[in-house]
Symmetry: C2
Subunit: 373 residues, 2 copies
């Protein structure tokens, strides 16, 4: 049988507020409970870092269902949360808890539950009814509070400092893969738990593929190299893109660099509350189109950033509805990709503020600063 | 509308054989099609490395459903596979394909499909019926062929060489986190695409937690440090554990090191076809129990290793049924954990051969070799 620890301590204000907001949304959906299986969501609501766990939110409590591997983490990170330590399947422990609490209707996160887990849980939770719930925590995570912005700032600083250190070590003959390894190492040395996503290092024509994997291509005299990287720090993720030129800048790349940089700066300048992601994207897209490169810019201009490297809001030609609000953090990363030749993308992380925006990242985008001597 | 490319080339023998074996299992389950959404499974069947894709197996063909990000990878890795390049949701593209092929009953991988994806796909695939299929590819992946063993050997070599390089760089004052970063860097420099799992570096009492995260604890004179790490190389994963002692070995740790090493060597010696994981586990467990540490060895003795870091067969007190067969690769990793004091685990990767076993890893387990001067 699973063991339950009841805790009497109150939650710290940060988490009490987040849980209260989630409960309010839960009540408005007429749910007696809400089962959070997305790790980033239950981390957001409690501070708990352990994987393979879940949070069951009820009108008055929040239970973490976990196992002995995370006993110590639970004690340190959220001693105020009542815990259920499972001995066997997590679905059985959750089902038993639903039964004990006599919950009639529990919302689940259909994007964060496998079909087989759902099949098992449905039986284990009877007579509790499980229903696919509309997003509840997602909405809360859109606007970052000060505690989140502090962590994001640090995630960006780590990525930037690591990039500078990696740049000092670039030598002709190194492979993309070696540069990616070095960049990730420099981030981890500075406290990152890992890269925010698989680091992209793309030399020459490889940079024409927006999702290139770092491979065996080597740094040459005259190389134009695209780096797209970020750090994960306390679960928050930074996301940056810069170009590095070895000795000289190829003329075609020089030309599109100027266009991309102007497009990026114009798009950033357009960021303020009330504007749609669609509008910001449109500014960058229009500039690139006018310069004659419209068909070489296929992807969206940016995306929200936080506990996930891609989260709402999108800054894209598809995001016609949602408006930017203070506290949102988005990337701005237009690019131009010339098949067989190369590509340029420049990316910064930008906070929407009450009266406009603040660029959180600070690595130079001057073309001359990107040239390694 | 999704675009379909029909390919006429034949599959290379390796993949043709794997697909034929999967088809045989599929037919025995009376399925008209089998949808493979587990990335490692469709990689195993086709060699395709792209994520966010799927494979639809039919009695005569195999289709990859993917998107333009992976067009180049598909061309290079499996030009013989007909592809469906989706423009919108992958579920819609799969559903349309099922309809076009008039498949009445398609098996799905319930462990590798989210509930929301299933809800979308069920509608998109109508009138095709989707059924949770019993494992098909899992069974095939149990026994490794020569091409897989070559890659696994390299994944082990990378992990070992990186460990030796990292050991040379250990200095008093470094944190667990810095050592983990260095070890991962040394693996990536040697061709790993990343660690096989989050690297464990646990100093002193932290080593008493079998799943410790590397943190701010520092290397001291007299430190006993547990490293549990592996490399991902061409998607295959190695998994090793070694202890490192800084200058001297704490007496209590010296004692349990001897017990763990003997337990590990006895367990390895017991590996041969026809023996159960349960039996191998029993050998290690009995030895540790006899030495008086039975209650300090809570986890299983090992697990299968391949495209996943934990795969069948288990080498555990729970695996009473399955017997070891030639071609299986398992870890052997008993441990003793003394709360508040420290822990010892020693882990090697072992291939089951026709007449016994072969230890694939070759790092010294001599206690004296683990002492850094």
């Amino acid at each position: 049988m699973a063991r339950t620890n009841k805790k009497k301590n109150a939650a710290p204000k940060l988490y009490a507020d987040r849980l209260a907001a989630a409960r309010e949304r839960m009540a408005s959906k007429k749910l007696a409970g809400y089962l959070v299986t997305n790790h980033m969501d239950y981390h957001y609501l409690t501070g708990f870092t352990g994987e393979d766990s879940a949070l069951l939110l009820t009108p008055r409590r929040a239970y973490v269902i976990s196992d002995t591997r995370f006993e110590e983490a639970l004690r340190q990170e959220c001693p105020w949360v009542p815990t259920v330590m499972r001995k066997a399947l997590i679905e059985d422990a959750i089902g038993a808890l639903c039964g004990r609490l006599k919950l009639d209707r529990v919302g689940i996160q259909a994007d964060h539950m496998t079909l087989s887990s759902h099949q098992t849980l449905r039986k284990a939770a009877k007579p509790t009814k499980l229903v696919s719930a509309p997003p509840i925590v997602n909405g809360q995570r859109l606007c970052k509070d000060n505690s989140e912005l502090k962590i994001l700032d640090q995630a960006i600083k780590i990525a930037q400092d690591a990039f500078k250190a990696m740049c000092r070590s670039i030598r002709v003959g190194q492979t993309e893969q070696q540069l990616a390894a070095r960049l990730e190492y420099e981030m981890q040395k500075r406290g990152a738990t890992g890269p925010a996503f698989p680091t992209i290092v793309a030399e020459g024509p490889n940079a024409a593929l927006p999702h290139a994997h770092p491979g065996a291509r080597k740094v040459k005299k005259g190389s134009a190299i695209l780096f797209d990287w970020g750090a994960t720090y306390r679960f928050y993720r930074s996301d940056l893109t810069r170009m590095v030129f070895v000795g000289t800048i190829p003329p075609k790349i020089r030309k599109i660099y100027g266009v991309v940089l102007e497009a990026q700066q114009k798009a950033i300048a357009a960021i303020r509350p009330g504007v749609r992601g669609f509008d910001v994207d449109g500014v960058a897209r229009k500039h690139i189109k006018k310069a004659g490169y419209g068909k070489y810019f296929g992807h969206g201009t940016g995306h929200g950033l936080g506990l996930d490297v891609h989260e709402a809001p999108a800054v894209s030609f598809r995001s016609q509805k949602e408006k930017l609000e203070p506290g949102m953090v988005v990337t701005v990363e237009p690019g131009i990709y010339l098949p067989g030749i190369g590509g340029v993308r420049i990316e910064d992380d930008v906070l929407v503020t009450a009266d406009g925006h603040r660029v959180l990242s600070s690595l130079s985008t001057e073309m001359s600063d990107a040239v390694l001597k």
